[in-house]
Amino acid sequence: MRLTGRYRFSASHRLDTPALSPEANRKLYGKCNNPHGHGHDYLLEITVDGPVDQDGQVVNREAMDALVRERVLRRLDHKNLNADIPELAGSVTTTENLATLIHGALAGGWTLPARLARVRIAETARNSFELEV
C-alpha cells in the first residue's frame, strides 16, 4: 500500500550556471535566468510504501507531516534557493536538483517504518518532476 501526502512551500530562485556565458545562460534558461530571480509556490508529494499495520495505517500521519516539515519545509519555505540553501551551492536550482535534494534530506533522517518510495515536485501547475526510489 502506498500513501501520499501533499505539502506546499514557496521559494525564489534563479537558473544560471557558471559553466556557460551570460549570453548562453540567457538563451538556455530564458526568463528563469532573470538576474534578480523569481519565485514559485511549489507543490510537493511524498509517497511512502509499506504494509498496513495493526492500527490500519501505512504510516502515522502526524509523524510523517512532522518529518517533512522539519527536514524539508522548514529549510525551504520562503527561502531563496540560490542564496539560503548551502546544499544547493554550486548547483543549478532546477526542480530536478531540488527533487534530488529533498530526497536526500528525507532519506538522511528517515525515521518512519514505511519506505520512502517517491518524491514528486511541481514547480507550477504545468510542470512536475518525479523521483521513484
Binding site: M1, R2, L3, T4, V52, D55, G56, Q57, R61
Partner: protein
C-alpha cells in the same frame, strides 16, 4: 491500456481503537480519534487494465463500471457514518488504508473477466492525502 473512473462520496468516521485510552488513540490517530466523528469528501479513482475489445473498442463498459461503483461503494457509503452504518467498519478501523482495501474487495470480483482486471484503487481522504492499493502482493 489503463482506464480510470472517478467517484465521490462523503462520509463521517472515527479512527480509534475501542480497547485503548483516549490518550493512546490521540497519539496514534490524532484528531481523527475525536469520538463523535468527523467527515470527508472522499474521491475514489479506480484503474482497470486490459486491451480494448476489438468489436466495441472499449476496455470495459463505463456504464457498467459506474453501476458497480455506485452499488458497491457510493450507495452504501455516501452520507453515512462508516463506523456505525457500513460493515465491516463496526469492527475494522476506517482509516483510508482500510477503506481502500474494503473497496478493492467489493469491486475486484465484479470487474475481473477475460482480459480485464482491477489494477489500482486510489482513495483521496482530502486533496492532500491519498492512498494507492493494488491488491494483496
Amino acid at each position: 491500456m489503463f482506464l480510470t473512473r472517478k467517484a465521490e462520496f462523503s462520509a463521517s468516521h472515527v479512527c480509534a481503537n475501542p480497547a485503548w485510552s483516549a490518550d493512546r488513540n490521540q497519539a496514534v490517530y490524532g484528531n481523527n480519534a475525536n469520538p463523535h466523528g468527523h467527515g470527508h469528501n472522499y474521491v475514489l479513482e479506480v484503474t482497470l487494465t486490459g486491451d480494448p475489445d476489438p468489436v466495441t473498442g472499449m476496455v470495459f463498459d463505463l456504464r457498467e463500471l459506474k453501476e458497480i461503483l455506485n452499488r458497491e461503494v457510493v450507495d452504501p457509503m455516501d452520507h453515512r457514518f462508516l463506523n456505525r452504518e457500513v460493515p465491516p467498519f463496526d469492527r475494522v478501523i476506517p482509516t483510508t488504508e482500510n477503506l481502500a482495501v474494503e473497496i478493492w474487495k467489493r469491486i475486484e470480483p465484479q470487474i475481473r473477466r477475460e482480459g480485464v482486471h482491477l489494477h489500482n484503487v486510489r482513495l483521496y481522504e482530502t486533496a492532500d492525502l491519498y492512498v494507492d492499493y493494488g491488491g494483496e502482493q
